[in-house]
Amino acid sequence: MQLDAAQLATGLLESAPDAIVGVSADGIIVLVNAQTERLFGYSRHELLGQPLELLVPESVRDMHPKHREEYAADPVPRPMGAGMELAGRRRDGSEFPAEISLSAIDTSDGVIISAAVRDVTERQRAERKFRGLLEAAPDAIVGVDETGVIVLVNAQTERLFGYPRSELLGLQLEILIPESARARHPKHREGYLGDPHPRPMGAGMELAGRRRDGSEFPAEISLSAIETETGLMVSAAIRDVTDQKNTQQQLREQNAELERLSKVKDSFLASMSHELRTPLNAIIGFTGTLLMGLPGPLNGEQERQLRTVEHSGRHLLAIINDILDLARIESGAVQIQLEEVDCIALVDSVASTIAPLAHDKGLELVIDIPAHPVMVKSDTRALGQILINLVGNAVKFTETGEVRVALRSTDDTTTISITDTGPGIAETELRSIFNAFERGSRINSTTKEGTGLGLYISHKLSELVGAQIAVSTAIGVGSTFTVELGSAD
């Protein structure tokens, strides 16, 4: 393919994204391209033959010929006006910020100076936006070049480290790092340059920044890298985390204290349990051996009196056990383990524990369970304790007749109800029977049974497993205590 050089040149010129303006030695426009027309809003015949100053803002027109002459004297291809704010003037009088590069072309008619003009309005806007974000950022942003020299800071950097930016730009980054860490730091920087992806810095390391006054602060730092015309700039976002560290420390101390107190409580309960049970061992033990007749036979009165002592000893043990139970529940030492509980197995187990007591009193203990399995989500031990208490109570307070334990389940709830044929509970006492040490007057027998804590503990346990206990009663007929549980979902 034969390329026509002239056609090619014209094609390139007309399709160039920058406005190309060629100017003769005396400042007259001799060449423009399509982009010039678009950028400045003139058609080319309006420009050709005109002085270049037409395209220059009025405010700098006077100075401009001098710049042209200076360039003509030494026409090296270079960007124009480094450090100057350049602008172009459109046909309609509006101005725009411009970037201009110059070069010179030798022609048979003399030297033509060519200016490539670019409208950098958008770029400036983007830069301003970037600057704005940077300056408003809550973290200190520090940019360093590949040698570790600070090339960029923001307002927060000045505030956080206590330096005006003029003091920081151009210094090595290590000035912002505690002396103790300075030696190692260049290595870290190199390491990052080897694989510069955005990430937090120094995972697991305790990082710190050093202020102008020498004071240090704990810091969280994230790194990223930006390609610039001058190479890679590594940017660090630095955050003062003094407050977070303090809060974390406080939390750690509080947790340690809570754990310590919990252990103290636990060991106190364990010692109490031990100390209270030990004397009772002797009391219950030796009244037992005496009543067994092991050291010798007893007369009737001796036996009677010893039975009183034994009875009291057992009563005391029951109270101690209940109080320790309660102390453990109240102190949160009772851990509820939710699991699938087989209600039928549980009811069976409770019944077999209480059955001897019922039979001793001539009472019938009836179990009423469905044919299909009934599972609930609960804590076996807690539920068992509640049932033992309720069934035991029913047996305790019923003189004749039966105690019936019925297990029922529907789609949403499962209930276990304990019905007795005892004397019933007075209306006025219904609410208070669940209180600690309230016993109610249903007992007609001469000996006061129970510790007064059973229902209270059951109530507390039911709260822990999310169950409800309801009572219904009729004087002279009996009472029904119902434990209501959710289903196994």
Partner: protein, 135 residues
């Protein structure tokens, strides 16, 4: 009838258990510290050791470990007796390697039967009887 070793430091507890077990026909050796207990175990090779968890010079668990490490004693049956009786104590004791666990206060009428359940049938005693004179 078996030879039982009681390692228990509280005098009343020791007296009670020893009394009942002798009344059931067993021979009982008593030791009031872990150190004395281990010495007695090595010397008399009991059929069963009844061990208090809380001793003045060691815990019952430590004594158990030492017993299990001793090649001549590591098969001896050991029953823990403790006044702690907190939830999980039984499971903890059994998983530590105790053959049995009894809570204090003991039940005097059934204590010897409970201890017998850990002995082979030929070594078991009888129900506690007053025919034993005691001293």
């Amino acid at each position: 009838m078996a030879h039982l070793l009681m390692i228990e430091d509280h005098p009343h507890n020791l007296e009670l258990m020893t009394y009942l077990l002798r009344a059931a026909g067993h021979e009982v050796t008593a030791a009031v510290t872990a150190e004395l207990g281990l010495k007695a175990a090595r010397e008399c090779r009991p059929d069963l050791i009844v061990l208090d968890i809380q001793l003045p010079d060691a815990t019952g668990f430590e004594v158990l470990d030492l017993l299990r490490l001793d090649p001549e004693l590591h098969d001896v049956r050991v029953v823990a007796v403790t006044a702690n009786a907190m939830v999980g104590d039984r499971d903890h004791a059994l998983s530590a390697g105790f053959d049995g666990y009894l809570a204090k206060p003991i039940e005097p009428a059934t204590f010897t039967r409970a201890i017998d359940s850990f002995l082979p049938s030929e070594l078991r005693g009888h129900e506690p009887t007053p025919s034993w004179a005691g001293d």
